[in-house]
Symmetry: C2
Subunit: 335 residues, 2 copies
């Protein structure tokens, strides 16, 4: 009898569910379009169908619990708080207007179907960090930081073996550390946040600054601003485009200094970098590591490992979500 955890990746486009064992092996996945279910009750029913389908597919499997990775999750309250890219409505609220649900009681809704199982929700970056701790490179570590580089910059901080949630569950928003007071405008309404520089969108903004200030040729001058993305900059840099290389250098400089400051705060054994931008063949890695060490306080020099995530990138969201279940079961056992 194999105990399997359901990991659910709730995205604005797709909702992907997988069953995962305690070692991170995946036993089947299901997916549907999130927007096909504008009523939250219908959405939950469909999600439960997918979970039950997967359990039935695996003879002898026993569901150990359900972990959900989702944007704007409040782990303590078990809800999503007004996620930007997902809208659900309550029955009776048609026609669908602006009155979508602001607080989405994800855990409560699933507990209605699985009353005796652990059901946990957390934001994507904390789920990624939990995946790293349970299945990945952070196994056995009590203090580490997971940085996820995508459209924005997310982070999960683990200290003394526990996720740092803080008072109210929203700690670790390291993408919103202000690194340049008065700097670039951020979606959060402030200026100079780390993720406006260090992220897939941040490096495009840096590229534009370089194209403005440096008049050397670059093939990226032929790309419309709205079309430009981090992959193009990486490709150009890999082929010797000096300005594209400079964009990675500057991004790594800001990330490296930020990581040196994170170390002063929580002194992790390792910092894991996760996501496409981190994997761009050393382009970001090399300067990020160099500037981290150049800015490191003496006590910590050479002491903190900078590591690639040990989680398979293509299944990371489902793996991270499922890991929430194993972490919770370990916590319950230790009580």
């Amino acid at each position: 009898m194999e105990r399997l955890a359901a990991g659910v990746d709730v995205g604005g486009t797709n909702t992907v569910t997988g069953l995962v064992d305690a070692k991170g092996k995946i036993y089947g996945q299901r997916s549907f379009k999130t927007k096909d279910y504008p009523y939250f009750c219908d959405y939950v029913e469909r999600l439960v169908q997918d979970i039950n389908f997967l359990v039935r597919q695996n003879e002898g499997a026993v569901l150990a619990g359900i972990g959900i990775g989702a944007p704007n999750a409040d782990h303590f309250k078990g809800v999503l708080l007004n996620p930007v890219n997902i809208r659900w409505y309550e029955r009776g609220s048609e026609p669908f207007g602006p009155d979508n649900m602001k607080v989405i009681p994800f855990v409560e809704a699933l507990k209605g179907y699985f009353p005796s199982l652990p059901v946990l929700v957390d934001n994507d970056a904390n789920a990624a960090a939990t995946g790293e701790m349970i299945y990945g490179g952070a196994r056995g570590m009590k203090d580490f930081i997971e940085i996820t580089l995508g459209t924005g910059l997310g982070a999960g901080i683990v200290s003394n073996g526990d996720m740092v949630y803080g008072y109210g569950g929203m700690a670790g928003e390291l993408g919103h550390i202000i690194v340049r007071p008065g700097g670039r405008s951020c979606g959060c309404g402030r200026r100079g946040c780390l993720e406006t520089y260090v992220s897939a969108t941040g490096i495009v903004r840096t590229m534009l600054e370089i194209l403005a200030s440096d008049d050397r040729p670059s093939r990226l001058r032929n790309v419309a601003v709205a079309e430009m993305n981090s992959k193009m900059i990486a490709d150009a840099a890999a082929e010797g485009d000096a300005l594209a290389a400079e964009a990675f250098e500057r991004t790594g400089e800001i990330l490296g200094l930020a990581m040196a400051n994170f170390v002063v705060f929580s002194y992790p054994e390792a910092i894991f970098l996760f996501g496409g931008l981190a994997q761009s063949g050393g382009l970001l890695w090399e300067p990020a590591k160099r500037y981290m060490e150049a800015n490191m306080m003496r006590n910590f020099a050479g002491m903190v490992k900078l590591l690639p995530s040990g989680i398979d990138c293509s299944n990371a969201a489902v793996l991270g979500a499922s890991a929430l279940v194993w972490k919770e079961l370990m916590r319950l056992e230790s009580l």
Copy 2:
């Protein structure tokens, strides 16, 4: 039978020992000049005499343990690592030269005299945070930050009810977050650290910058640079000196932004400010709070209390050191 913890404040000038009950009431103190005992073994013997003297003075008292607050303490290893202002030697090393002890085995030495009692060492700021948690304003809080403002800036971070020591015990050095890359030189060998701006010495440097850039009159123009201190700046500001007031405004601006960034990291329920500079009659407090909120990420706006330390300033070091014992006993009980 009253259980009392010994709190030992190890300073470059004095070593102060006090006996403290679990509520923070002090049952007598003893003090001696640290430099009178250049041999570490003699120093420890004298310290043990003071502890035993205090225990005998309190009839029926039972020693619960010994907590030591000291510079450069490694809590996990129980040692002091080459503290700047204190030098001890091993017997046989006379005449006293540069070969002072680099790693001072404080816990091991005291365990030799009190083998069955908990003996703990921690740095001053972590001891202050522990004092806040056991006796002060942080009772009942699981997530808070204690910032101590003295010659430098120290900090103790508590997350999930535990001190954040990180991998190797030296986390929380928030005075050495780099806030101005390439900025003021710091004793740590780098540039732009928070404590070069926000501390008793930092505000003097800021005052000098203002005296250089602003040609309005100030009574501080009559003070030699080497003589100037934060108290003089506070007194001048309190009496309407515009440039001295500006020094507090700028210091509060940097501290406020830094605190807004700390909140993003660990989301404390409260930040406690401790030390003379913090108490200068709202001069630092008011701008620090204003800039903290002005820079706060929306999720946290108005959520984090900025509080004065609830620990009696004059006995804070002994209280904080003694609190290490009660915290350890609570930890042992919870196992």
